[in-house]
Amino acid sequence: MLILIGKAYLVLATAVLVAYTIRHYIFALNRLFVRSRGGFQDLQDSQPPRVSVLIPMHNEEKVARNILDALLTCDYPPDRIEIIPIDDRSTDGTYEIVSEYAARDRRVRPLRRTEGIGGKPAALIDGIALTTGDILLVFDADYIPARGLLREIVAPFIDPEVGAVMGRVVPLNCGRNLLTRLLDLERSAGYQVDQQARHNLRLVPQYGGTVGGFRRSAFDAVGGFDPHVLAEDTDLTFRLTLGGWKVVYSNRCECYEEVPERWTTRVRQIRRWAIGHTQCFFRHIGRVFRAPGLRFWERIDGAMLLGIYMIAPLLLLALLDSLFLFLLGEMNLTSSFLVLVAVLTYNTVGNFASFFEIGTAVLLDGHRQRIHLLPFNILNFALSIVVVTAALIGHARNVITKRTTVWQKTERYRQATPQPEAKK
């Protein structure tokens, strides 16, 4: 019986992995050979909607000035924008910096949080209560928006179908070390290929919680953020999608960010994403298949997007399972030539599907030499499997023991006003 369960699990795991493999290839091939869907990038409006820009900050003195300077020099009409830095119990000089800008410019309306639940979703909830804009834009504090970015992000909201817009995140400090270079490749694939292909194919692009925004009326209609969800962006993506809105991705809305330079920071980041995403999985997976107004492929893509972090434990368990079956003498795969061919083919094509996405993204971005770093992504891949699995086990323990999972802030590394590293 145990062996039968083990074999059934292996078949299930393989089927899921094959489905994700196909998905990766569809996205990469779409980006390579299909013209991108026209967006709203050529749209201009002399009377854009009133926007509120929210910047959650917790100990962000290293980066606070950069984002405030960038936002204050943007080309958005001054009478139609308000900037709300939310100081979430900082212990450094963040609030002093923010106050200095508020004294200098009426567009800056800071909020200081000293109590309540910590973390970005809770900070945003308090910040949004102060806003007067029709469109709410959110930036993390380490981002540096370009002068014309806000207009680009806001443009798709003329469409009554659109509930949220997501732009492209570009690592600024990508040349620091191996980790930042691998994260640069990962971000390229995630936005240039994955998000854009989902937009092209009318699937479910994800609102990523930064370099993007959402419609105030839609946000209110779906009930706002839940402070207990660590991935408030994924949660909002699905609540909007299930509520009848669409999330659109705009590849031209590019914005620099700072990626983690230490593996420990990266581990914390993955942990947060994994737990947050899994919370969303259990909240929304049922409704993805039941909600009205979604196309068949939107439901499939939505389910796969929600389940993306479940792949790590699934894969790890499948590896242990196959080892278990092998030791029991139940893995006689090599006795069948056809099965051997299938396994080899999958190893060649399937396991590297996500790498194919990265290669496609690098090609589309016009880079060349950085693709040589691709084999090192095995490190990132292996780390993610272990960290995500550990995070999900830890989260399950927290759920059972009713402990609250706390928000963990990403460390910043910036020293001075940043410039993109010179081309070599």
Binding site: D159, E161, Q369
Partner: protein
Amino acid sequence: MSIRELALFGLVAAGFLLPLLWGLRELYFPRDQAALDIDATYTKDDRFFARSFRKRIESVCGVAPRAEGLREVKLMRPEQIFTTRSNHEVTRGNEPNAILDVQGDLRLYDGVKLGREASVLGAAVIGSDVSVVALTATGDIRLGERVRVERWLDSDGTIETAASCDLGSRATASRRITVATGTVFQIMAAPLIVAGGTPAIAVRHESGGELTPLLNFVPRRRSWIRGDGAVICEGDFELPEGTTVEGDLVVRGSVKIGGNCRVHGSLHADGNVLLGARSRVTGSVICVWDVRLGEESAVGEHLVTEARARLEDRASVGSYGRVTTLLAAEGVEIAPGATIHGRIVTMGHGRVL
């Protein structure tokens, strides 16, 4: 360990290391580690090319009034600029092989082929069958029949074309563009764009009468109300003639709006959109397939389609005092009398019927 085992071990180790070698080289001797380039100062400006061209002229020749004569300058590459201090005329066969810098009015006679850009501090009158690369003028620009612009045309005043002109990739003006029958274009931008040469008139609409809930017109079993009050219709949608409705509408099929209707809101359609004669949508219209605005119909804000758009006689997009966009990815046709307040953009062919 025997030599054979050692060799086998070495071979396996090399097999693992081989894919990493180039990566190690890139890691320690980086050739491609710069962040993706984002222009932090970029901001949308339809008249960017013309403004930039004028600035370049000023940077190499000085601000007006400039001395007359031929200059050898370096722009992107070594160039010649021919500067005049007063009005200038070019006849066929006497075209200068230099950038024209006219500090007065410019007149290009029929059949002239101007092979270089021209900057005019005054008005420009261009005869029939003329070909120009790019032209910017501080005054009005008038084009004769069959004028062909290779790149862009820009005026601080108005642009007026005769029949069958080709406006190149971009025509921009600060006041008005009037385009005649047969004119083709890709991007036009001006506070008022009028097709067919007739003066812009206010589009009048017959009232649609009593305000009726949108839900009365959508099939009950295939429609629902979204959290913000917008109506989602899962099939095609048709609005009978003379109806007035309020609210945003998202349709998963095609939309047909009868004559003399009013929709107080915006409209999204996954199929085609047909707006009947003298109907009006106060917000924006966004559709995936073709859109057709009937005679004297109007869209109050933006009109965006991933396919083609056609504006019939005296149809209009946008409203006075606001820059809005008619964006038709695959092409746009506008009939005489149609008006657009702001911009028309197409990646395909734009044509005045």
